[in-house]
Subunit: 251 residues, 2 copies
C-alpha cells in the first residue's frame, strides 16, 4: 500500500518546518499545489535549492482529477502533496484523503503555519475572540452580490467577536471593502460604514509583509500592494490590551 | 534601541521553522517560556543541538516581571523570547510587547505552528465552521464551577459551529468532560450528554500524537495518555465530507 502525505509548507519559504522538509525528501513523488494560494515567488526556488523538485499542479488536479495520484499509491509509492500554508485549512483536500484511505493507503497530514493563525497572531487581537471566518467572493454566477460575509460579520459582532475575511486570490482589500459596503446597502443592518476600522494584511510571510489598521474610508487613498490580502473586522468592544496592540498597526 | 523578538517554536522540535532558527541565532539573549505550554521533552534539547541555549523562565517572568528584558533592550541588545506554539495565540505576551514599543524598541513577531490551527487541520472538520474558542478551568477561587465554556458551546451550537476547548496544562480530557457534564447539570440547556461526540487530541506534534473521535461515555474506559489534551466539540450538523473525515478518527 502507498503513503499519501499532505504537507504544509507554511506561508513562505521562511516557514518551512523540519518535518515538512523530511517528509518532502522521503516522498517518491512530490506534487506542489501552488495555485490555490499565492505566496512570494521564492518558495518553489527554495525547494529546488533544498533538493526537492515538485511537479507543479493546479487545483483541479488535486481536488477532482487525482487518478494519477491513486495509481502511484496503488504501486506502493509515497506521494507528497506540498501545499502553501496548511493543507487542511481553508482548502479542500479531504476528498483525496478519503479516497486514499478507503483504498487502504496510509495518509499523513503535516500541518504548516497557516494564514488563519498567522493573521490572528500578527493582529495583536485576542485569539479567544475570533468567530467564524468567511471568504468574500467577487460575484455569483448571476452577477448578484452574495451577502453571506455580511451575515457572518453581523452574527460575530452581536457576540462581540472578531471576523477574518479571506479574499479571493486576486482580490484587493479595496475591492473587498467596496463589496462589504454594497452588502450594507442591500442588507441595511447598519454594521459597516466608512468609519469602520479594519486590519489589512498584505503579502503575509513575505519580506515586504505589511499589517495595518485603518478606517474603510482611508483605504481609497492608501497605497496598497498587489494581492494576496486578508482583512480582519474587529469586534465593537475591545480589551484595553487589544487597543494597545492595535495602536501599533495604525497608519 | 533594542530589538524584542517573540519567536514561535511550533508544537514540538519537528515544527521549528527556518525563520525561527535564524531569529534565535541572531539574538544576543534568548529566554524560553516553556512553562506556559507543555510539549514533548525534546524541544529544548533540540535547541541545544542547534547551538541555541535559551535561559528557561516561568510565565511570571515574561508576563509581569520583565524588567530584566527591558534593561537588555535599553542596552541595545536583541532579546529573543522562544515560545512553544505561536507567541500570540492563547498566551499573553502583549503587555511586554506594548511596553517595549512604548520605549521605542523594535518588536518583531515570528508566528509558529499553533495548537489552535494544528487541531483544526488534523480534525478533518471545515476550518470555516469553527466558532469562538474557550478554556476549561478546573474551578474558580470559591470552588464553584465556571460555566463560561458551556455558554460558549451553546452559542456555537446554535450557529452550527465547532468549538475548540483548551484545557488547563495538566487537565485530562476525562476531567474536562466531567466538568462539561456538571455544567450541563447547572445550566440545564440539554446540549451535552453521555452520547455527545467529541474529538480528543493528545500529545499533538509529538511522535505519540493521537487524535480520536469518541462519545463522552466512551472516554471513561478509553486509555488516555497523560496531558496535554485538547478537545473539539463538533457542530450538530456536519457536511458529508466532514463525516467522511471523522470516520477515520473513530475508535
Amino acid at each position: 500500500m502507498g503513503v499519501l502525505k499532505l504537507i504544509g509548507l507554511g506561508l513562505s519559504y521562511k516557514f518551512i518546518t523540519e518535518i515538512a522538509l523530511n517528509e518532502l525528501r522521503t516522498s517518491d513523488v512530490v506534487y506542489a499545489d501552488t495555485y490555490t494560494s499565492l505566496t512570494c515567488g521564492d518558495l518553489i526556488s527554495r525547494l529546488h535549492q533544498l533538493g526537492i523538485n515538485p511537479i507543479p499542479v493546479g487545483r483541479d488536479f488535486i481536488e477532482n482529477n487525482y487518478k494519477k495520484i491513486l495509481e502511484l499509491l496503488d504501486q506502493g509509492k509515497s506521494v507528497g502533496i506540498a501545499v502553501i500554508g496548511d493543507p487542511m485549512i481553508a482548502t479542500t483536500h479531504i476528498s483525496l484523503v478519503t479516497e486514499a484511505r478507503t483504498k487502504g493507503h496510509q495518509v499523513s497530514i503535516i500541518p504548516g503555519v497557516s494564514v488563519h493563525c498567522y493573521i490572528i497572531s500578527k493582529s495583536m487581537l485576542s485569539s479567544y475572540k475570533f468567530g467564524k471566518s468567511v471568504t468574500i467572493i467577487s460575484s455569483t454566477d448571476y452577477g448578484k452580490i452574495d451577502t453571506t460575509p455580511y451575515k457572518v460579520l453581523k452574527e460575530n459582532l452581536e457576540r462581540n467577536l472578531h471576523t477574518i475575511f479571506y479574499l479571493e486570490p486576486n482580490m484587493s482589500a479595496r475591492d473587498a471593502v467596496s463589496l462589504l459596503l454594497q452588502m450594507e446597502k442591500i442588507e441595511e443592518q447598519g454594521i459597516i460604514n466608512e468609519d469602520s476600522l479594519i486590519i489589512v494584511g498584505q503579502h503575509l510571510g513575505c519580506d515586504d509583509e505589511e499589517i495595518v489598521s485603518l478606517k474603510i474610508k482611508e483605504i481609497a487613498k492608501y497605497n496598497l500592494k498587489s494581492p494576496p490580502h486578508i482583512i480582519i473586522f474587529p469586534s465593537k468592544s475591545l480589551h484595553y490590551m487589544e487597543i494597545e496592540g492595535l495602536k501599533w498597526l495604525m497608519k
